[in-house]
Symmetry: C2
Subunit: 419 residues, 2 copies
């Protein structure tokens, strides 16, 4: 049986709360007198549905339903949590909190999203201050776990316990306020004041401020707050940013792009990957995780595609290769910090088909092989299609050259039948 939340005020904050509750399996009832609210909530909900469930490695409950209500009384009917997300005007908030209390269940929790007013101020004119608490979160509310929870002597212990349970149940970390100030607001504001001073005094441009945060300070704070960050955590964050080409990851990508590519000799298997095993590629068995072998083989395939002319420009023009089948033999272990390389032999390259055989080495030690069948596709129809002429020509040239090479050990075998 799904629980019901009422969201009163559906601007960016209210829409974020509505989306988080709904994606986490709650039924949502919204009230906002503004006709634009419905469109905003729809857009935010769509983003939340794409982003939030994937944060979990398990399934979330089925999404709840959502109703836009004409009145506050209709919205709060049956709600056990009422999230007030009105504009930051104290008189408005107090008036609406009174209205909410006229109609809501006396056992419901009424949580104000205010980042400005203290809980005492919000409870000020209420009929039942004991059911009013404060929950301040950061945008996007549907992704960031931080919620600053304020309760005070007016709230009985069960209200606080219930609040923590609900907030944890929707995936948030409730940090209880020790006093009347919201820590995130105070810290953000102190940093903003200093940033404004630096810009006003000609010490920095706004982008210099951003650079100091995203290339340095923010990485440390995201990793560990004020404590010393662990290398593996910083590496994991940096590599996540690199894959997105964002923040410090853009710096890492520019560095990689400035390194030269090795010369090609198509009479031999092609050198397609040379890299070091990153700290975040190892798992509970103390070695490189099996999925990272395929990631490295995937990178080798990408590089081979580039070599035959299937590069970013070609892909943007609507053609690409999709892997349809993969066979990996894990022959030996490898650890973080080791330098690995992949050599790629083309077993078949004709028409729409391309069959590649990757060998991964650390020094002379063969770690794994990967055999891959790929099909050229149109990215518009998502179906098999004939590659462009220059790709057919270059792939054919390499395939012909590689016909002279020995058939690799382990090619053409099924699982358990490698010999």
């Amino acid at each position: 049986m799904k629980q019901t939340v009422a969201i009163i005020g559906a601007g960016e904050t209210g829409a974020g709360w509505a989306a988080r509750f709904r994606v986490m399996g709650w039924n949502v009832r919204l009230f906002d007198p503004d006709d634009m609210a419905q469109g905003l909530v729809g857009a935010v909900l769509q983003q939340a549905r794409r982003g939030l469930p994937g944060l979990s490695d398990v399934a979330l409950p089925e999404m709840g339903d959502m109703v836009f209500c004409q009145t506050i009384s209709e919205a709060v009917d049956g709600a056990i949590w009422i999230q007030e997300c009105l504009p930051e005007r104290l008189e408005l908030k107090r008036k609406v909190l009174q209205k909410i209390q006229e109609h809501c269940d006396g056992a419901a929790v009424i949580a104000s999203a205010s980042g400005t007013f203290t809980l005492n101020e919000l409870q000020g004119c209420a009929t039942r201050p004991e059911q009013i608490i404060s929950t301040h979160a950061l945008a996007p509310v549907y992704l960031l776990p931080l919620v600053e929870l304020a309760v005070n002597d007016a709230n009985p212990p069960e209200v606080k316990a219930r609040a923590k349970e609900v907030l944890q149940g929707i995936g948030m970390a409730a940090v209880e306020q020790q006093g009347e100030e919201r820590v995130s607001v105070a810290l953000q504001s102190a940093l903003q004041t200093e940033a404004d001073r630096l810009v006003a005094e000609g010490m920095a441009s706004p982008s210099d401020i951003s650079d100091a945060l995203r290339y340095g300070l923010g990485l440390r704070w995201a990793a560990s707050g004020q404590e010393a960050p662990q290398d593996a955590v910083l590496v994991a964050i940096l590599r996540a940013l690199k894959a997105q080409g964002a923040g410090a990851g853009a710096v890492l990508n520019r560095f990689d792009a400035a390194q030269g590519e090795p010369a090609l000799d198509i009479k031999h298997p092609l050198s397609t990957v040379t890299r070091t095993v990153p700290l975040d590629w190892t798992d509970y068995n103390g070695h490189m995780n099996e999925a990272r072998y395929l990631q490295a083989f995937g990178d080798a395939t990408d590089r081979f595609m580039e070599i035959i002319g299937c590069d970013a420009d070609y892909i943007a023009s609507g053609g690409s290769y999709f892997t349809v089948e993969t066979h990996i033999r894990h022959l030996d272990e490898v650890h973080a910090g080791a330098r690995i390389r992949v050599e790629t032999q083309c077993l078949l390259g004709a028409g729409k088909k391309m069959q590649l055989f990757h060998r991964m080495y650390e020094g002379d030690r063969l770690l794994a092989t990967g055999e891959h069948m790929l099909i050229h596709v149109s990215l518009e129809t998502r179906r098999a299609s004939v590659p462009a002429t220059h790709i057919i020509a270059r792939l054919g040239e390499i395939a012909t050259a590689h016909e002279a090479l020995d058939q690799p050990d382990g090619a053409g075998c099924a699982v358990g039948k490698t010999g």
Copy 2:
């Protein structure tokens, strides 16, 4: 031909610079009168070798050599970059900078790591102020890309150009100071002052400050500085933290752990994964990347291992399964936000061997199959070993039950021969 850097002062900062330069292919000459310096540099270098090269998706140059020198003159001999990393005492720095200039090449760049003194102050008593600049970085210097570069009218343009080139060449982002203040120091200090005030006034504990940063503000700043962060970037950072069990990732892991496991019926293929495709699992082809299929199948294998009793406790006691072979058929595409599930059929479970067949679905649509051979190993010897009795029993029970199921389509096939 490798370039040479001299590091003068090998505390934490100097050791970090030494490690970054050396791992990036420079020869390093160190001077520090403290006998402890050598041990510290060795430890920092070891960390840098594990962490830094893996940030790149290409190979770094071969590491340079490293020499501890008895005198400053010996250290700076042949160096084209001299990194001064002494304790923050202006008179000491000035004295040593003079000493450096007595012996170094007039064309070398001398960079002070000071976070305290202005470039004017550092150049104050120098014979050749034109070759002295300031480069302030954050710890760990060998991982974080931020370096705040100060040059002034005393430095000719070629010194600034050379400094940027060298810093970019060792993977850093040089942010040029507009004035005499270092932005990162000013921002860090403003935040620290506010944090101290909040703690002193009883508004927050130190851990509340950390929570506000690592569950909220730090994530935004790491993603995009002061701009609005993109969902995909936040998701990528959050998932990186989740894999490490650090910061906000610990919140996500606690949430997952609180969700119930589905009931098991061993007469059918077992439900081993139910999840949503995360935003950071898609690639340039607009669909889930091939390596993520194996990641999901790997998670399914992990869950199957748990089911048969090969859980975290058992692995900690020294036994585990290693995947030795994998065959994946990619049958259909899937996109971010889609809910997928994996059903696992045990094809063989006897002695040291375990053969699993995973089917991945979105709804009724079969997306991929994965066939995997695993071998039970001793984590001490890293060799095949007999599983514990309770694992043999439970695996045997499931294998026997699954013998009644049809052999899956596509099992036992080689690449290109699936039929």
